[in-house]
């Protein structure tokens, strides 16, 4: 069975979105503070 790249892009893209989303969400309390 040879599956295409579309599943790979979907998975890596989802990972990037989840990490970026968590980075944004977890840093909410830090805005304006260094």
């Amino acid at each position: 069975m040879t599956a295409g790249w579309e599943w790979v892009w979907a998975g890596y893209g989802l990972s990037a979105v989840v990490w970026a989303g968590y980075a944004w969400w977890s840093g909410r309390g830090l805005r304006g503070r260094r």
Binding site: M1, T2, A3, G4, W5, W7, V8, A10, G11, Y12, L14, S15, V18, W19, Y22, A23, S26, G27, R28, G29, L30, R33, R34
Partner: protein, 240 residues
Amino acid sequence: MTRHPVERLVGAVAAVTAVCMLVLGLVIAPVDAVQGQAQRLMYVHVPAAWVAYLAFAVVLVTSVAYLVRRDLKWDRRAQAAAELGTGLTALAIALGMLWGRPVWGVWWQWDPRLVTTLVLLLVYSGYLGVRGLADDAHTNARRAAVVGIVGFVNVPLVHFSVVWWRALHQPPTVLRPGGPAAIEPAMLGALLTGVAAFTLAAAWLYLRRVRALALQAPTAQPLPVMADVPRITVTRGGPA
């Protein structure tokens, strides 16, 4: 100069490692002879699951520390780890579904590994839910710590489910009982780099989240001890 140099350093190393993971996983590692390109999802699916286990181990240790010390800083550390672990478990399940659809032909199967992982997600979602039930922070922390400790029992159950109940999900590739890693060296390199990248990214965000939770926490003012209270002298009959 930044006030959080360790945090910045971990974040920078995580970013570099993530780029290495992408190059190794998408370019250098060969195409799998059986599964084709979809096998490359292993380099993000397995790290997500492993770092979730690690996060739940942190929940276990910090929950025990809270119950012993009764200091809310341990509760904040447990909370941050549980959030990361829960998010990464959900990500691992989603990535597994994206991998399963082209390779197994189905999005989901009631396979022991999949079911125990789903239970793990539900247990730690419950952990996060329990934290908001009471008004008192220590009551929430105590209840959450108990769930965090008991819930960890599920982690070895998830890991060994593919060994104990052989079903659809493949058995462990790297940490398998009774033998060395059964994987091509370039694939192993991509996988281990993925684990390193996910671990460093989680460590960076964990440090940030613990700091944010500490800033959000109400300032705990210790009760004044009697020696600090100004002495009041009362004289009978009022001022002379």
